[in-house]
Amino acid sequence: MNQTFTFTDKAKRFCYVLMGIGLVGLIWGYVRDSYVPGEMPNYSHNRFWANLLVNSFFFMGISLAGTFFLALQYAAEAGWSITIKRVIEAVTCFLPIGLGLMLLILVLGKFGVHHLYQWMNPAVYEKGNAAYDPEIVHKKGYFSLAFFFGRTLMYIMVWGFFQRLFRKRSLEADLSGDSNYLVHFKNVRSAAIFLVFFGFTSSAMSWDWLMSLDVHWASTMYGWYTFAGMWISAIITITILTIWLRGQGYLQDVQQSTIHDLGKWMFAVSFLWSYLYFMQFMLIWYTNVPEEVTYFYDRIHEFGYRWTMWLAFAINFSFPMVMLMSRDAKRNKSFLLFVGSCIFFFHWLDVFNMVMPATVHQHWQLFRPTEVFMFLGFLGLFLFVVLSNLAKAPLMVKNHPYLEESKHLHT
């Protein structure tokens, strides 16, 4: 049985082609997006930058939630997932690049290269200036240079550190013949610390990096909603990679029950996401408070996102519910691949719905080279990084206390 993944030239070429398309999309997007609509002051290639933010966040979120999912397996001392542990680890390996891209976008915004974040414009704090906004002045302390970037750097460094640590120790455990699994149990303790840290910072990160785009609006459900979106995207990525690898003749130790469990996760986390999406909407719709409804009013009535908003919700809720409800469907790889790839794109559309209305208002496009090519480019980069990291280590962990249990998983 083949225990080492080979990143074939064919797969590499596929990734290079996607990245090439992405590069064309970047240049095309920047050049084509040069007009300044009259009603939007400070428009500087906003559509280009917003697309960059959507894709950076979406793919960063996949690897971040992958790291969370890996830590969850450690902390819960789960046995079912050990045969796919290397796949989860490979997905987390994109995290440094994703976080780097997010930091780049935030720093460039602070230097005034783009104007996605209204609160980064110094003019909004100057009394007498046309852009002066007392509402943002109230939040000046929260968005001050030291506090905002101090927080951002803290998330990035701590998350990146834990991701490297889990990976390093996992490879270390392979080589050590230690029968007390000391390296593994070190990871279990680190995972518990990471989960506590992640619980607070994932919410704070979503306020800082995404919710602050709609700077006049706040929602307490937003952090959870963003987190659930990242989590389901990560589960889909892991499921699709596992099924693909099995189809290529790798990972033969992965049981049908492991695939079934991944299907259960896909079903359950889709429900978590749908619940949070709907509850955020319903509470705001019901109370009907002007400061709160702006978010949905802008999207549904003002800027013409009605169909993307409802479609993202309808597909991401109904596809997993209808098609993955039965046990047989969750054990059928065609069902999982179909539902998984559909809701993968619609969760990308969900991030699009979070970012675009706040940044380009009604000047949005979906099926244009800028959007499509940049998404494909990021997908290529993500796949390239994940598959190269998959090839760097044996596909099956060695010397793990629950490996045998996982190889005989039966549900």
């Binding site: 709907f278 909407f281 319903m282 019901y286 109370t287 009907n288 046990r327 039966h410």
Partner: protein, 172 residues
């Protein structure tokens, strides 16, 4: 020919599974297995069919959703139209988001209770019924395989049970 009842008692669930595979391989039927906890993977070995409980749960869930819809429509729209929070009244469809939480709760309530009650009735578990458990130790730490075999087969069944690690074999 007269049948005898055999109790093969095991200390471990893996040994019990191996025993069941051996007995079934001999062409005999395992009537029932009693265990202190669910033994994963025993069902296909002894030929227990998949239960219809999930389907009943789906039906109860749909019933719950319909009941809640009918209840709220009758209370809020038909019998006594109520305006809350300035939302358009006299219509169910325009107000649909407000009705989702109760529909959801009612679906879960009916599905869960319906399924539990069906399970209790179907397996006849309720106060006052005689326990079907042949050996009380299976509620603690023993795994019991119940067989009904012909007198002729008794010898080879006893040795098969012993070989696969049964700690006791009781014949009645």
């Amino acid at each position: 020919m007269s049948k005898v009842t055999v109790h093969g008692i095991y200390d471990d669930d893996e040994q019990l599974k191996n025993g069941a595979i051996k007995i079934v391989g001999m062409g005999l039927h395992v009537k029932e297995v009693f265990s202190p906890f669910p033994v994963h993977g025993i069902d296909p070995i002894i030929g227990v069919k998949r239960t219809l409980l999930p389907i009943t749960s789906f039906i109860y869930g749909c019933t719950g959703a319909l009941l809640a819809t009918w209840m709220m429509w009758y209370m809020m729209i038909s019998d006594w139209p109520t305006e809350i929070g300035g939302k358009p009244n006299f219509t169910y469809l325009v107000n649909w988001p407000a009705f989702i939480p109760i529909t959801f709760e009612s679906t879960v309530l009916c599905a869960a209770h319906g399924m539990a009650i069906t399970f209790f009735i179907r397996s006849w578990l309720m106060p006052g019924v005689t326990p079907k458990n042949p050996d009380l130790r299976t509620t603690d730490n023993k795994f019991l395989m119940l067989l009904e075999v012909n007198q002729d087969d008794l010898g080879r069944v006893q040795s098969a049970l012993k070989e696969t690690g049964a700690s006791e074999v009781n014949v009645q």
